[in-house]
Symmetry: C2
Subunit: 299 residues, 2 copies
């Protein structure tokens, strides 16, 4: 049973998001061990942030009270937690795993079950917000899991996020995350179509965006993506292929539950077309390329 306040934290996955999130944990005073698929990155992080780079997830687990994972998808989470030399192999008594990747609810429930058999707790705590919010520690974090586990993870989550919500049992953080991203993708695609209709009508697009952002059509996506769409600047804040993955996870869950999500299906189709054009590594604002071709018009 966990009793103390100080926690040794292991962090796996030092990508664009993970690097910044781990840095905020360190800044908040947690002792940090890190592991990354590309070992050089873990070493660089360790040097820059006074952390310990370890050789395997298993040895990371051996010196951690809580292990945080921030990787790309469910197979990666399963590999580092449950695979050879994985976290489960090296886990100390009472280890808690907190996965902040977006892997969908089914995978989260499956992984939680496997860890439970080894006496390891699990919280799924995916995040909303891209690298600037990861850097500032202002992510939105939606956590699913037993209350006791959530409360143990909370001090860590608060070091990385501004709004941290315990949303329900394991898997519910994931479900809310993929629904949020589906809504974001829909809203972004609607912005893209609206810009093209406005352009075709000869409107002043600054006026169009300004008025909508003060009106009932306002959205986070309008604020964040209208500019990049108009300037065709797809510097990746959130990769299109990751957004597409999240939509697929949402649609799979909806389909399995026997419920449709028509707008999300349409958004996924647009993102898939963009990915097919080789835009998967770019920001998902690049979906405008698909809409432009459809419209026969360039912003």
């Amino acid at each position: 049973m966990y009793l103390g306040m100080t926690q040794n934290v292991g962090f796996i996955g030092l990508g664009i998001m993970g690097w910044r999130m781990a840095a905020n944990l360190r800044k908040a005073g947690f002792q940090l061990s890190v592991w990354n698929r590309t070992a050089a990155k873990a070493k660089r992080f360790a040097t820059e942030h006074d952390a310990i780079a370890v050789d395997t997830p298993s040895s990371l687990a051996a010196q951690s009270d809580v292990v945080v994972t921030m990787v790309v998808d469910a197979p990666q989470v399963e590999r580092v937690l449950l695979g050879p030399q994985g976290v489960a192999e090296g886990a100390r008594d009472g280890l808690l795993c907190c996965d902040m990747s977006t892997i969908g609810p089914s995978a989260a429930i499956r992984i939680a079950g496997a860890l439970h058999e080894s006496g390891i707790g699990f919280v799924d705590a995916p995040v909303s917000g891209s690298s600037p919010k990861a850097e500032d520690g202002t992510l939105t974090i939606m956590a699913g899991g037993e209350r006791e586990h959530f409360e143990r993870a909370l001090p860590l989550l608060e070091a990385m996020g501004e709004l941290v919500v315990h949303v329900g049992p394991v898997g519910h953080g994931q479900m809310i995350k993929v629904i949020n991203n589906a809504v974001a993708a829909i809203n972004a695609a609607a912005v893209g179509e609206a810009l093209l209709v406005g352009k075709q009508a000869g409107l002043d697009l600054d006026a169009l965006v300004g008025v909508i952002s003060a009106g009932s059509g306002a959205s986070a996506m309008l604020d964040l993506k209208a500019g990049p769409m108009r300037s065709h600047d797809y510097t990746a804040l959130f990769k299109l292929e990751h957004m597409l993955k999240d939509l697929r996870l949402c649609l799979q869950e909806a389909e399995a539950a026997g419920i449709g999500f028509g707008f999300a299906s349409e958004a996924a189709e647009i993102l898939q077309a963009a990915a097919d054009q080789g835009l998967g590594e770019r920001d998902f604002a690049a979906l405008i390329e698909v809409l432009e071709v459809r419209a026969g018009l360039r912003l």
Copy 2:
């Protein structure tokens, strides 16, 4: 030519929105004559707000420097401005008409042309925001027309709105308005689908809405319509049939310009199905009824 600062204003259309907007003009010190299709309403307004109720749009025009119209659709605007006993018949030299109804760009351009032949200026200045914003004088107003006309209308518009933008020539106010509403309808329908998917997944919908509203899926429609959808409270802030009308106007313009607006078409289909169920007079949050039937699930 108009020279002075004080303006006698005529106001036509004292519905839910118009009543509140006219009251704000009076509050700002404009002398006000009013006309309404139901004369008793104009008399009541005149008594309550120290205005003059007149018998016809034509006699209204005879004592006005600027006539504001806030009615339901293009046929109504054409009737009161250009029909028998309409504004054009009674107009003094230099009259300016400022139509704040949502009638679509084509109708605005047609009406502006007809008025121009009678030496009457025209500004299309539709609004975003429903009755609470009309009441507070915090509407968003997007105005199309010649700069000189816009500047004459500006003191009036500022008495009714918080953000007043001159967006371009006649018709552009309308086009931005219908695009804004199309985006709003899409975002609202996406919220409805997301709530149902979340419900089906057994999520805590308070958590779902709270997290999305702090995340990348945030929108004005999430803030305004998730609550009414969940409680099935369709007290009309903006009638579904009016939203549907605006979407049709947007889609007509897009089609005429040879450009698609796929998400808006889908939203219009949902709203049409709701109207077919007799929900046209209710708030457009009632679109959730259609989505619930499709999903076989009630929020």
